[in-house]
């Protein structure tokens, strides 16, 4: 295949083998042009300095043909990543991409992209998720052929469910002819993206180097366009390692990324929506995958205030300031039931927004909205759905489905609403503000229950942390529902990076690893990243803290150690009760004790500052203080906190 006349592709393996041994060289030479054979005999080391010099003269991203002087395919691939503005490649190494990796390091100088050593492919992808949620742009996760894809698949699923762009590059040795027996054959396939195709947005396996940049650009575009998501670019090992034929250099181009303008609703639709909202007596704004950047929240505040309407943040992202008087997230039930219009903004799951289905013997849906409530969906977050995995449950229709980017539509919608605002809006806003003004007091009263308890209450833990980070710019990159959402109830959260939503696919192991990616992205901004990870989650990927230590990524990593997979303990308990059988066995297979984990020792073994187990609440404050001092020095610190289950 690679010897075909039509393709400007050189049979790298045969070249190299040919250079080393006369016999195979004869057979190989017959497949390729004389110039190529000559090029292949030039020692790579000798050609490298020229290559570097030429690259400097041709900054990537110009769409210009590449200059002469390149030696191997991996160099071109490296330039493609640079042209795509990819800063990091998170990776657990594998020989199916050794040629690419060597190029990134020695040709590219390990700068933009820079290698980030991961200890599991699942972590590589989760790192990229956390990073993308802060920066809005993809990081690459480079994974080994077949086995790496298999390891990474759950994280890929999380990224797809959470609509986060991740640029996955998988190694492979496409040519069966050239595969060595053993690992090389086992780690190669004809179509490995098939394993994850149900939950990636796009994949490519270019078969010539000329096609590589084409495929790289198309994958990138798919990752960041519309509802973002993971993509997979398979890089053939032969292609990475092959010499680039002098004649073919002019054919190689770098991908060029232009400006992207999201689709916003047309003026007629905006007017129709504004009219519905302004004529409604009880409009409600319900937000899911909306708050992705620094403009999202101010725009939504402006809309909510123009309408004086209540806002429910479902916490798929950080969507609305938690202390805003119109934020009714924790008391949203009655607002939804009485709503005449619900504006569902970027909902991934409309059914879950408008209906509840409790975990009962007979699962009867319970409407959260009234019988006559009109539901308007504004967004594109449902448009990346695919059959088979995730997302599909009972179907919930929208009365009006506006398939436009919500944030892009916001300025026009705000203007239209302001033009039609009615005098009675103010009274509505006042009523809502009256109902929300005591929420903090209520949260404080509830936080006081079990204040001195050991194991430490989750409220106390969160209050103690807040006390020491409240004057910092910060990010909580981890889910908070297993901590009874105390950060949302006690802290001040009003920036999109204060909280990053959930895993997307409910795949455990996300929190600990995504936190490291977020911390890496936060580093240049000087923000404090505070991970609040479950002990079960952490044990799915404990090596992530080594990555943080190795790459000097500052993060306060707090382990919510309830000594178990507590969510599952509750499930087992529920089963036993429902079946009227022994209710004292729910810890079998669900707890992580006997022996207890020593997370502090584990962290120390990876070169990470650590303290714990901390089980007395009075020890919390000094422990957090010491750990934060380490974080401020630019390093990770782990605290093992023995805490209440929820």
């Amino acid at each position: 295949m690679s010897g075909s006349d039509k393709q400007p592709r050189i049979e790298r393996r045969q070249f190299l083998k040919g250079a080393a041994a006369a016999g195979p060289a004869l057979a190989a030479a017959s497949l390729v042009s004389p110039q190529a054979a000559q090029a292949a005999q030039t020692p790579a080391g000798a050609a490298a300095p020229a290559t570097m010099a030429v690259r400097e003269q041709h900054p990537p991203g110009t769409g210009q043909p590449l200059a002469p002087g390149y030696v191997v395919g991996g160099d071109h691939m490296t330039d493609c990543l640079r042209a795509l503005d990819i800063e990091y490649v998170a990776s657990c190494p594998g020989s199916t991409f050794r040629g690419f990796q060597e190029s990134i390091i020695n040709y590219g100088g390990n700068k933009k992209p820079e290698f980030l050593t991961a200890l599991h492919e699942d972590s590589s992808v989760h790192f990229a998720m956390g990073y993308a949620k802060i920066t809005g742009k993809p990081m690459a996760a480079m994974i080994h052929g077949v086995v790496g894809v298999q390891h990474a698949s759950m994280a890929i699923y999380n990224a797809f469910g959470d609509q986060v762009p991740v640029y996955i590059i998988a190694g492979n040795l496409l040519s069966e002819w050239g595969r060595r027996p053993g690992a090389e054959a086992a780690h190669s396939s004809t179509d490995q993206a098939q394993m994850v195709r149900d939950y990636i947005k796009w994949d490519e396996q270019p078969t010539t180097l000329r096609d590589f940049s084409n495929a790289a650009a198309r994958c990138y575009e798919a990752a960041v366009s519309g509802a973002p998501g993971p993509v997979m670019l398979t890089a053939d090992a032969d292609m990475q390692e092959e010499a680039i034929h002098e004649d073919h250099k002019a054919d190689l181009r770098l991908p060029k990324i232009g400006r992207r303008i999201p689709a916003s609703a047309d003026s007629g639709t905006v007017q129709e929506l504004a009219t519905m909202l302004c004529n409604a007596e009880n409009p409600v704004l319900s937000l899911d995958r909306y708050g992705n950047n620094d403009k999202s929240i101010p725009l939504m505040v402006e809309l909510a205030e123009a309408l004086q309407a209540p806002v429910i943040d479902t916490r798929g992202r950080m969507n609305f300031p938690n202390r805003h008087p119109l934020n009714v997230s924790d008391i949203g039930g009655p607002y939804l039931r009485n709503a005449d219009v619900v504006l569902a903004v970027e909902p991934r799951d409309l059914f879950g927004m408008v209906m509840a289905l409790d975990d009962e013997d007979v699962r009867t849906p319970r409407p959260r909205i009234g019988q006559n409530t009109k539901v308007v969906r504004l967004g594109i977050s449902h448009t990346s759905q695919k059959p088979n995995y995730g997302g599909s449950q009972r179907y919930a229709p929208a009365d009006l489905d506006i398939q436009a980017d919500a944030q892009g539509t916001m300025p026009a919608l705000i203007e239209a609403v302001k033009r039609m605002a009615k005098p009675n809006f103010a009274a509505r806003g006042e009523r809502i503000a009256n109902q929300t003004k005591n929420l903090l007091e209520r949260a404080k009263a509830e936080a006081a229950y079990g204040w001195d308890a050991s194991p430490i209450s989750t409220a106390r833990l969160c209050a103690e942390i807040w006390d020491q980070i409240k004057n910092e710019e910060y990010t909580v990159p981890t889910e908070t529902n297993f901590l009874s959402s105390w950060p949302q109830r006690l802290w001040v959260m009003d920036k999109y990076y204060n909280f990053l939503g959930r895993s997307g696919g409910w795949g455990v192991g996300y929190n600990s690893a995504a936190a490291i990616g977020a911390a890496l992205a936060n580093k240049p901004h000087g923000r404090v990243t505070v991970a609040l990870a479950g002990d079960g989650d952490f044990m799915m990927a404990p090596g992530v803290i080594w990555t943080a230590a190795h790459h000097q990524i500052p993060i306060l990593f707090v382990i919510h150690n309830n000594r178990g997979y507590h969510q599952e303990t509750m499930h087992l308990q529920r089963m036993a009760n429902r079946r009227n059988r022994a209710v004292t066995t729910a810890d079998i297979g669900t707890t992580i004790k006997d022996p207890n984990m020593d997370f502090a020792m584990m962290a120390k073994s990876m070169g990470v500052y650590s303290e714990g187990p901390v089980s007395n609440p009075v020890d919390l404050r000094p422990a957090i203080q010491r750990a934060l001092a380490v974080v401020k020095r630019g390093e990770p610190a782990v605290l093992d906190i023995v805490a209440q289950p929820r």
């Binding site: 202390r323 039930g333 009962e360 001195d452 710019e473 009003d494 209710v583």
Partner: protein
């Protein structure tokens, strides 16, 4: 939600058993220390926390603990998120012990006496203090260069 269901359950029991309730109104004597152990052993803690402070399930303690008829009827008859505990798994005496434990949980410190809680406040966020454009990140959806 959970409280309205609880009220519903209690109301149903009142309708069904009428005056019989009055006789049950007094909680049987229980042993708080034993109750604490049982509370953990049979898994009440999983949803309500070791101190009954609440978590996935509502707060049960510190007081006022719901009246014994409401409490015991709910535990025996609930069929919702929380499935029931029958006498097979929790004897009447054990339930009374749990009740004694919850009733004995000492009052929490008043929030006003906890400086950490008292200094929480404010409805607005922090101003952005960084020199960098804040937050300076490109957008998922918006134009990028």
């Amino acid at each position: 939600m959970k409280f309205s269901r609880l009220a519903f359950a209690v109301a149903s029991v009142c309708v069904l058993s009428g005056g019989a309730l009055a006789a049950q109104a007094q909680a049987p004597a229980g042993d708080a220390a034993r109750g604490k152990a049982i509370f953990a052993r049979v898994g009440c803690y999983t949803c309500h926390g070791f101190e009954g402070q609440g978590g996935v399930g509502p707060k049960l303690a510190p007081g006022p603990v719901r009246a014994w008829p409401v409490f015991s009827t709910f535990v025996r008859t609930t069929s919702r998120d929380m499935p029931p505990f029958t006498t097979r798994n929790l004897t009447d005496q054990e339930l009374a012990d749990i009740y004694a434990y919850l009733t004995a949980v000492p009052a929490s410190p008043a929030p006003a006496s906890i400086p950490l809680l008292m200094q929480l406040g404010g409805r607005s966020g922090l101003p952005c203090k960084r020199a960098l454009p804040c937050p300076g990140a490109p957008l998922f959806y918006a134009p990028t260069a």
